[in-house]
Every structure is written in structure tokens, then in C-alpha cells.
Symmetry: C2
Subunit: 734 residues, 2 copies
């Protein structure tokens, strides 16, 4: 370890780790050093790499297939696939109804290129995996069918459009399938599988819930139909079973409360009991029941998924072990030289000192080989991101040691590291907040902005002077990155803005908006000063990767609904600009909407006339409030289509997706929260500190890895505690 | 057991259980039969009773105190207290602003009586518990202070009102304290304690959440203030920080989505990104975080509460054991004669056969005494409600055996018990549903109703003929009770209605409404035909007791807000009747509301002019939708008071109470759900069946009780499965 540390201080990662490695090999010459076949090593590396990244791909073991496989998993080919998946999805922006319309031949050519790439990717995959396995995999079939259908649809569309027919480009809803079905979006597929597994259970609750609404609707019909009541708009109130059903379904979402109750309530307070019971039963109890069922099932299926993953990882590691094993007495082992070569192949980016650390953890008794159990642990060890932040020498100290170590410099450095420095800047932030709130056309305030910018810039420079720059900008230093980026961006923005203003007296609103937002974002930093809030915020930040998976899922669902909505409703509702004097602007260009609540509330821009509007509208529907107004607006225009579309969207997204999201956050939060308080982190800290002090190579991190494995979940991120002592362990998410 | 079973068949519970008891005593004459002091027995019984009902009261051990204590726990004194707590709360209906105004002297006298009863109850309690303990207990102090304050307030109010001053009866908000602080509402107090314990944790998240809203508000100010935009109503849009903050706070509750976004969205879709991010961060992430924190803490505190309860129960049982113990060799034991006397004292309602069963379970080896561990288990055994439903002889068979056993009778009985009988009635219910949906003034339909009523009545009579009536109306037969009650009520209602109609051609709308609701309720029975739904519905029914505790809590919180709201806002907003032609009806009798959205939406009846209106309004606020319209309505009338009142209510009820409710339902549901699938129920069934066959007195239900204790929760109700074999175990909730 001493050797590794010394090597690291030199900072030369290119030099292979022979110094310390040789030392151990010399000590273990008793075991015969079998030379290892390069092809076998490549195969083993492929298995270990699969285990490390939880890839569940069955590949052929021929050297060529393995080379292909390596290429398949290379970031460049993955990146290309991702890029074209994105391009394919973004095509929606340029096709009719478009944000910016491109000629059909352009979009068609791009789409064809995307399909070509997808086809090539699949062909590539077919070279890797055994033919039988390839054709058994549902997602390959799904991709092939999607490509064929899309090509077919494109041909039909192009020929028929040329001949003047109206055709729907229905195959566009297949696009998210590419996003879901390419291997890279494993997480997304898992999330979808979870939803599919949860569906049967939800269905029972849903049927019971619908029955409950139906029974209440019948009661409402009997109670109110005879009264000939009028709603606020003068329409007949509760006189038709289907209307009542729709109204009460909307009431479950609380979107028309209390309006739907008012006409009856005005007659007698006793009728409000009906509505109160309805809301308690259907909104509170049933919706909680949905959440409970979804959460229960979600947890159960997640556990199964994780179990499968762990099993698969184990199997892959055993395969790798079986390739490299040599007999040592009664047991099979892997020699350290093979192990080192393997790790170098699997993770060439790992510095030799880190590799040495991993080896010490694996071969705890310094025997020169590892057994099966220890070898299997390698996949997890590789996932632990160790960031070494040794007390490096400040670059300035190297360049001009006299200046850097002078008395003034030392006073400054001590001052910056003092608590008071932080408090001073907290006070500055608070004062800044007041100035931000002020009117920026006031010259005092616009000058103050320069003062604040200078102060913040000074803070960063002082810190860079006091702390070692590489340590200051380490991956774990979220707030340092945040501060610096915000300040530099604000500085650039302010300079650009001032330049624009002084050059032509013209100030770009877009630039100004961005500058304003950057200024306000600066205030967030104050949270970092309170331990309690920092923990909460770190929890939230750690949830982001998981939430992004979820966001992918939402985008896929939204995309399908957006495409369908655009085909069904495009051009039906028009927006005439904010200050249009066109009389049609009053009813969104559709006479059916004349006098409707939709038009009265100025909802005209909520339409399906391009994919951006469609997404925003779908988000509004997800938020639920006023969804019935939006829905009835479209119902007035297109009748049954809209009714089905909006109700299906509501059930799919609000009842299922949102509850899964909450289950998602709840589970992730419980894991984060319990980890933040558990002894695991403390144990990790202690272990690393021990290791760093170099006095306990005989205490391997073995139990630490076991402790990690007990967190059987997708969200195994432990918090981002920065350890002042230097080394940092971070358990990467699966 | 044979003896006990025979005794039970005789059905004479009055005869003491000596037959079988003596038999065992004769077999165990080796141990000397010490006579037991009656006073000591009473003391032990008090301890056991406390343990059984989880009462945590420290009482004095003098014979007189124990007699007092027994009286204190008697249903009559408890009933009186509950009654006066209810009367005290209901006084709100008759005090200004009243639903039905009573003279002050009436309400004051009644309130004084209530206070007297509360005082007496407390005096009673002080006689039981040691003086020191009494004065240390916060809830006693709380009651005394509340009584004193209320008396003081009443005196001030009466004197000042007489002299013409305007005074506020502020002590009315103390009334719910009586509800919370009397021992009987232990569950309620526990729920409150849970909330109090969860508060600090929530506070941190809440501050962070408020900070987030504040930062977003500042951004919105910078982005939109300069644009001079107008809202849909033509008011200036986002030009003042406090207004923005309020609007964005409302947006978190989604109540003003998407309206609040539309003016900015009309300018550019890019601005909608601001609102979308706001909603994702504050509505979805923060609100989920609230739920996660509340749920996490709730679970933790619940576990502590249950642990304390179990410890307390254990201690009380040891106290009882120490009183009754006699030395047997090296260990202390309780003799069977003492045990029997004790059980008879603690639970005189238990029939001797059941007592014998409990004894057999306790003294598994038939030694004639029980050890400490077995004795402690008694508190749990007493809570297991065993309902014996032996194959009794049908009363008709006793009266006229010839007729009942005739061929025709047997065919009918077999027919009724056949599956087809059930399906026939399912079809009838579906047909009935269609008829209910029809117009009841149609003579065909009103005649059909009589046919259906006859059919249902016939069903019940046939079932009573086929099944033994006491078994048919057993406690566990929820659906039989439900059917019978609904049918009889509908029959009565229809008869009353027809009588009214034929007598004066007048048909009471109230009676008709009830009849309609009863008719519709009948349809619910169809759920019972589907196994899957039955399980779900039973889960829901089992949740009811827990939810009622929660409802109590909500009522307490609502009551306080209602009283405050009534004092602050009474008479400010007036409702002029549904069809009033008074011009003031257009603006709810308050010129400040002229042209407001509140008046336009006809919300005038949502006011604080009596306690019923106040409660309904508070429920509407809890449902959240349009709460900002209601709030701004009151803000227009009373400014700051209303703003504070409505925001505090929203934070208290929607953010805290509703999340706790969801945590409550989630937890209860998980427990119910896991129990429904666990082996516990099956184990219970098997055990009882074994016991009933009388062949396994040597297999005590010991492990069964242990299995129950592992369900460490408040909701330990196992499902209502009815065992056809006869005996039924039900584990009562704590």
C-alpha cells in the first residue's frame, strides 16, 4: 500500500502497476505461474464486465464474437444508438403538425437513416448472441416488427400522399418502442415490467372502484334528477346517468369540487353528506388503496428483479472464474497475475494504486491468489468508486513556494478556511436576495449586482488559493461545482447583456431572463450552511438518477399519447396569439367552443397542434386540476374520440403512473433515509480511514461489501459525505 | 372438553362450570388448596382487566380504591362521560351563530352540567390513583385548567353580555380537549402523540419546501413582473412578490393549474418550462417527501407505542401473578381454582365452556396449575373472541319435525344451499339495477319494485328456513345482516311512502330519498359473489375501526377551526336561498365580493354562519380544489385574518393530517393484506378444528398466541373468515 500511495503521489497512471505487483509475485513463487491465453482472458473480461454493469446478455464464446461484443458495449456504438433514438423521437418536432415544418423527403430520409442504424445495431447483436437465443428474445422480434411496420407505413404514406390521399402516419407511435427495447435502456424496461406486473392487482381495485362510482351515480340520479336543478352555468344538473358518472368520476380527482356539489347544497345541507361520503370513500380510501396496492406490488416485484440480477451477476462471475482457475491443493483459485491482467482489461481506466487496493481487499491474507468467493466479489468491488484525494501540494506552492508560504498568504488561507468566512458569505447571500428582489432598472441595484458578482468571484478565487484545485473540483464537491458554474454563467450573461446594451442600446430579453434565473439560483447555496437541510438536499440529489429513469418512462407514455392526440385533434383548436383582435380568437377558431368554459378561461393554447403543445397539455392533464374543462373542450370539438382519449389518459397516467412514481419516491426515500442514519456509512468511513493510514491491510473491506449487498434495491447510492481525510468510497447505483 | 361441549349443547350458561372443573380438581388434589382472600382476588382481577384492555392506569391497592376503580371502568360511567363529551361538542349547534339558536341560559346550563360531570369524573379518578401520580399527569392538569378557564370565560361572557358588551366565547375551542383527554379516548391520544412526534421531522422538510417556493417566486418576479401581463380576469399578473408567493403556493396544491400558467404560456412556450419544473419539484417531489417522512416517522413511533403497550401489559400481569402465586416446589404457580375465580371476575360474560377451553390452553399438561409465563398469556387469551357455532338444531325441526324433514322441505333446503340459488339472485340484482335506473313514476317500474322486494324477502325467509337462524345472524355474517337490514328498511320505507301517498296524495321527499338510497345500496351485495372483491371489501371493512379513530382526530381539529372561523367570519358572507331575487344574493350580501370569482361561482353558502356550514366548508378546503377561490373570497371580506386562517388550515390539515391519514391507511392495508395471505389464519382454523374434534387437548393454542403477538400493530384484526366447522377465533384489536 505504501508503494501504491507513493506511486499515486507521482500521479503517473500510465506506468503499469508492476512495482508493487512484482513484489507480491516474488513472494508467492511457490504456485506455478501458468501463462494465460489472451482469448480466454478476453472472454473472462467480457463476463466480469457483464457482471459489473448488470448486463444480461448471452453471447457466443468465439474470439470473434467477443471482439464484436466488446464493440457492442463500447461507448461509441452505444452513443450512436442513443443519438439516433433521440433523433427518431425528435422527428415529431418537424413533421406535420410541426413546430418547424420540414419537407417530407427530409424527415423521411432522417427516419430511414434511424431505422437503418437500428437495423445495423440489431444485426450487430445477432452476430454476438446464439441464433436460437436471438429469435427467442421478445425485444428483438419487437424491434424487427417495428422497423418493418414503419418502413411499410412510410412507403404507403409517401405514395398515397403523392397521389393526393389523406393518410395517417400511424407508425409514429412505434417510435418509443425503439427507446424501450434497445439494451441500453435496461432500467426503463425494468420499470415497464414492474408496471405490467402490477397491473392485474390494480385491475381488481379499479373494477371495485368503478363499481363504487357507478353505485353512487345511481344514487345521485335517484336523488337529484327529479329536482330539475341548474348548475352555475344554467345547464341541467345531474339528470342523465352518463353525465352524472362522468361528473362523479371527475369529483374523485377533486377537479370539480366544490362546484359539483353547490346546486344540491343550496337546497339543503343534508345533500352535502352524499358528496362528503362519496369523496371519503372514493377519493381518500380508494386512492389510498391504489397507492397501497401499487406500492406493495412494486416492492415485491422490485425484490424479485434485484434477486434475479444478483443471481445473474453471480453466474457470470462463476463463468469467468472457471476460465481463469488453476488448481491449488484441493481448491481452485485465480492467481494474482491473472487477476491483475483481468482487471486491467475490464477497467483500464482504474489507476494502478486503486487496482492494488482492490487486490489487497480480495486477497486479504496476501497469499498471491484468490478463491472463488473472493473472486465473485470483484464485480461489486469494481463498482465502488474510490476517489483518492490525498493531500496534494498546491500548484502555486510548486511554482512559487516563497510567495505561497509567506505570512500574508498563510493568513489568507487560514481566514478562508475559518467558519467566519462561510458565515460572512451567508450574510452576503441574504443581502443579495434583497437586492435581487428590487427593481433592476434602478442604477444602484444594477451596480450592486457587479459588486456581488465580484464578491462571489473573489470567494471562488480565494478558495482555489486556499484549497488544492483538484480537490476543490472533485466529483463529490457538488456545491463547489454549482457555485462556480452559476457565477461564471452569470458573469458571462451580465457581460453579454451589458455589451448588447452599450453597443445598440438593445437588451435581449432571453439573455436577461437567463441572467435573472442564474442570480436567483445562487441563493440556493444558503441551504448548504445548515447540516439538516444539507442531508435532506443530498437525499433529493441522490434520488435524481432514479427519477430520470422514471422521467424516461413518462416521456415514452407521453409520446404515444401526444402522437395519437396530434393525429386526432390537430388544428381543431387554434390559438391566435396573446393580443389577437381576430373575433375567432374568442372561441379558439372553432364555433363549437363558443361560450364554453374552455374558451372563457383562455385555454386556446392548450391544444395538440404540435408536439410541444401536446406535451404541455399532457402535463396539465397529469396535474389533474381543470382536466375536465380541457377534456370537455375537446369533447365539444370531437365528441367520443376525446372522451375516450382523456379518460384513458387519466387512468393510465394519474391513477397508475403517478402512484408508481410515489411508490418509487417512497421506496427510494426510505432506502436513502435509512442509509443516511445507518452505521453503514460510518463503517465505510472508518474502513477507508484505516486503509489510508496503511496499518490494517489485514482488515479487508469484505464485510463492507456484504453490508452493501444487503441493500437489495435499485437505489443503492449511499450519501455523498465528503471525507476530509481524503479517500472516498462511493457505491455506484446498479 | 367433552363435558364442556355437552354443557354447551344444553345451552345453560347459568349453571356454573363445576361438572368438568371438579373432575380436574379431583385429579390434582396433591397440591394444597389455599383459600384466597376476596380482596386480593379483586386486585388481581383489576390488574388482569387493565392488561386485557391495555389500560395504563396506576391505581391504589386499597379495597375501596379497587371498588372505585371497577366503577370507573364500568360501561355506565364511561358511557355517561362519552355522552357529555358529545353534548358539550354538540352545543356548537345551538350557540350563536347557531343552526337552531337556544337562549344563552339553556346552553350555559347544559355546558355547566357537562363541566360538572367532567369534574366529577376527574374527582372519581383522583380517588383511584395516588395523589402524586394524579398531579403529575399532564392530562389531568389539562382538564382542570380547561374547566377553570371555561367557567371563567362563561362568567365573563354572561356578565358582559348582560351589560351589552361584545365578547367572544373563546373557551369554546377548549371543548375538544375534553374529548381528547378523557381516558376513554386512548386511541385518539395515541394518534395525537404520533402527530406531535412527527412534527419536528416535518418541520425541516416544510422549511426547505417553503424556501423552494420562495426561490421560485423570486424567479417568477424577475421573469414576469416586467412583462405587464394580465390574467384571464384582466388583473395584473405576477407583479408583486407576496402575490406571486401565494399563487405559487396555491399551484403546489394544483388548485390554480393551469390558469396561473396561461398568461405566460401565451407569450412563449418556453415559460411553461418554469411552471413544469416548479410543479415537479414542489408538488411531486416535495409532497412525496412529506408523505415519506410522515410515513417513516409514523411507523417508527407506532412501533415504540406498541412496544410500550406490550411492556405495560406484561408488568400488570406480573403484578396479578404475584398476588395469586403459591409455591409449588421450586417455582411459583397459580392454582386452577384461583385462575377460574379470577377469570370469572374479569370476564363474567364468558360462558363456562369457553373458560374451560382457555384453561386447557393455559394448563396444557393438565397439571392443575399454571406457571408465570402461561399466566401472563391470559390477557391475550381473553382478547381472543371465540364464538361457538355448533351445528344447532333448527328451531322448526324442534317444533314440527315431520314437516321440516318432509321431502318437499328437504328439496327446498337443498335448493337454497345450491350455488345456483346464489347465481339466480345475482341475475335478479342486475335486472333490479336496470329497473332502479328507470323512471319510477312509470307504473310498471313502481310495480316491479314490489316484485323485487318480495323476491328479496323470500330469499331471506328461505335462507332462514334452510340455515339455523342463530348461525345465519352470527356476528361474522356481515352480508346476512346487511341484506336483512336493507330489505326491511326498504320495505318499511316503501310502505310508509305508499301509505302517505294513498292517504293524502302526498309523498314525502325525505322518505322517498331514503327509499331510493336503500334500493341502490342493495346492489352492493353483488360484490360478495366474487371471491376477489370479497377479500378487498373485507380488508376495507376491517379498516373501518382504525379509520374511525382517525375520524375522531379530524373532528377535533375541524371543531377548533370551525369555532375560530365562526368567531372570525360569522355573518360576513350570507346565503339568500337557492332562488332568491334579492340583489344582494348576487354578491353574498357583502359588497366586497361584488364581481369576485367567489360570488360568480355561487359559493355564498360556503360560509361560517353555523357549525354545520363551517364543517362542510372545512371539508371543501381539505379536498383542496378551489380552496384559493374560497380563501380569496374571505380575504376580500376580512383581509389578514382570513389569509392566516386559510393557510394555517391548509398546512395543518392537507399537508400534515392527510399525509398521516395516507400513512395510516397504507400501514393498515399492508398489515391486513399480508395477514390475508399469511399462514396465520390457516393455522388458527386448523387449531380450532382440531380442538373441536376434541382429540388434541395436548396441542395448546400457545404458538397461535405468539403468532398474534408478532403482529405488533394497532390493527391486529384478522379477517372475518367464517368457519363452517363451527368455532371461530377472532383476535380483537388492541
Amino acid at each position: 500500500m505504501q508503494g501504491a500511495a507513493a506511486e499515486d503521489q507521482g500521479g503517473s497512471d500510465k506506468k503499469p502497476a508492476v512495482t508493487s505487483g512484482e513484489k507480491f509475485q516474488k513472494g508467492q513463487q511457490s504456485l506455478c505461474q501458468l501463462p494465460i491465453d489472451d482469448e480466454q482472458l478476453q472472454l473472462a473480461a467480457a463476463y466480469v464486465s457483464d457482471a459489473q454493469y448488470n448486463r444480461n446478455i448471452q453471447f457466443e464464446t468465439s474470439p470473434q464474437a467477443i471482439r464484436f461484443y466488446k464493440l457492442y458495449n463500447h461507448w461509441s456504438t452505444q452513443g450512436i444508438t442513443y443519438f439516433f433514438v433521440l433523433v427518431d423521437l425528435l422527428l415529431g418536432l418537424f413533421e406535420d403538425p410541426a413546430v418547424y415544418l420540414l419537407p417530407i423527403w427530409v424527415t423521411s430520409t432522417v427516419e430511414f437513416m434511424c431505422l437503418l442504424i437500428f437495423g445495423l445495431r440489431l444485426l450487430h447483436f445477432s452476430k454476438i448472441t446464439p441464433t436460437k437465443v436471438f429469435w427467442k428474445d421478445a425485444k428483438n422480434i419487437c424491434i424487427i416488427v417495428s422497423i418493418l411496420l414503419t418502413v411499410m407505413d412510410m412507403i404507403i404514406y409517401l405514395t398515397l400522399t403523392e397521389t393526393g390521399y389523406f393518410v395517417v402516419r400511424w407508425s409514429r407511435i412505434l417510435r418509443p418502442l425503439f427507446c424501450v427495447n434497445f439494451t441500453e435502456s435496461r432500467q426503463l424496461r425494468r420499470a415497464f415490467r414492474n408496471i405490467r406486473n402490477t397491473l392485474p392487482e390494480i385491475t381488481y381495485v379499479f373494477v371495485l372502484f368503478m363499481f363504487s362510482v357507478a353505485v353512487f351515480s345511481l344514487m345521485a340520479l335517484k336523488l337529484f334528477a327529479k329536482r330539475k336543478l341548474k348548475t352555475g352555468e344554467g345547464a341541467p344538473y345531474f339528470n342523465n346517468y352518463l353525465d352524472i358518472f362522468f361528473n362523479l368520476y371527475v369529483l374523485v380527482t377533486t377537479a370539480n369540487s366544490p362546484d359539483v356539489m353547490m346546486p344540491a347544497y343550496e337546497i339543503s345541507w343534508a345533500y352535502s353528506i352524499f358528496f362528503v361520503i362519496f369523496i371519503i370513500v372514493n377519493t381518500y380510501v380508494f386512492m389510498s388503496l391504489f397507492l397501497a396496492v401499487v406500492y406493495n406490488d412494486y416492492k415485491k416485484h422490485l425484490k424479485n428483479e434485484v434477486r434475479k440480477l444478483v443471481y445473474m451477476k453471480h453466474r457470470k462471475m462463476i463463468e469467468a472464474f472457471d476460465i481463469l482457475k488453476v488448481k491449488n491443493g484441493t481448491e481452485f483459485v485465480v492467481l494474482d497475475s491473472h487477476w491483475r491482467q483481468l482487471v486491467k482489461l475490464v477497467a483500464p481506466e482504474i489507476p494502478s494504486s486503486h487496482r492494488e487496493l482492490l487486490w489487497r481487499v480480495s486477497d486479504e491474507e496476501q497469499k498471491g491468489f484468490v478463491g472463488r468467493e473472493c473472486f465473485i466479489r470483484l464485480a461489486d468491488l469494481l463498482n465502488i468508486q474510490v476517489i483518492q484525494m490525498k493531500e496534494r501540494v498546491h500548484p502555486l506552492e510548486n511554482c512559487m513556494p516563497n510567495m505561497y508560504n509567506s505570512a500574508v498568504s498563510q493568513v489568507i488561507r487560514r481566514m478562508v478556511k475559518h467558519q467566519g468566512f462561510r458565515y460572512t458569505y451567508d450574510v452576503i447571500i441574504v443581502i443579495n436576495a434583497i437586492f435581487i428582489g428590487g427593481d433592476e432598472t434602478n442604477p444602484l441595484i444594477s451596480k450592486a449586482e457587479w459588486v456581488f458578482l465580484t464578491l462571489y468571484l473573489m470567494e471562488i478565487l480565494l478558495k482555489l488559493f486556499a484549497y488544492e484545485p483538484r480537490a476543490f473540483f472533485a466529483k463529490s464537491q457538488f456545491w463547489n461545482w454549482f457555485d462556480t458554474l452559476i457565477i461564471i454563467a452569470a458573469l458571462l450573461g451580465t457581460i453579454v447583456n451589458t455589451a448588447l446594451k452599450s453597443s445598440g442600446g438593445y437588451s435581449s430579453q432571453q439573455v436577461l431572463d437567463i441572467v435573472f434565473i442564474l442570480r436567483v439560483l445562487r441563493l440556493i447555496r444558503i441551504i448548504d450552511s445548515f447540516q439538516r437541510f444539507r442531508v435532506l438536499l443530498n437525499t433529493l440529489i441522490n434520488l435524481i438518477p432514479t427519477m430520470l429513469t422514471y422521467a424516461g418512462l413518462v416521456v415514452v407514455v407521453y409520446y404515444i399519447f401526444a402522437i395519437i392526440g396530434m393525429e386526432a385533434f390537430k388544428g381543431r383548436i387554434r390559438f391566435y396569439g396573446a393580443n389577437s383582435s381576430d373575433p375567432a380568437a374568442k372561441y379558439c377558431g372553432n364555433l363549437a367552443l363558443k361560450g364554453s368554459q374552455f374558451a372563457a378561461l383562455r385555454y386556446c393554447k392548450n391544444n395538440f397542434n404540435n408536439i410541444v403543445s401536446a406535451f404541455i397539455l399532457l402535463i396539465e392533464l397529469t396535474v389533474v386540476n381543470q382536466w375536465h374543462v380541457l377534456a370537455t373542450g375537446f369533447v365539444k370539438v370531437t365528441h367520443l374520440t376525446a372522451r375516450i382519449f382523456f379518460v384513458v389518459f387519466h387512468i393510465m397516467v394519474v391513477i397508475i403512473l403517478i402512484n408508481i412514481f410515489i411508490a418509487f419516491v417512497l421506496e427510494a426515500f426510505f432506502v436513502e433515509y435509512s442509509l443516511a442514519r445507518s452505521a453503514v456509512e460510518t463503517a465505510v468511513e472508518r474502513k477507508i480511514q484505516e486503509l489510508e493510514m496503511g496499518d490494517c491491510m489485514d482488515h479487508p473491506a469484505g464485510n463492507l461489501v456484504e453490508a452493501m449487498e444487503t441493500n437489495e434495491n435499485d437505489f443503492g447510492n449511499t450519501g455523498d459525505k465528503d471525507l476530509k481525510s481524503g479517500l472516498r468510497f462511493k457505491i455506484a447505483s446498479m
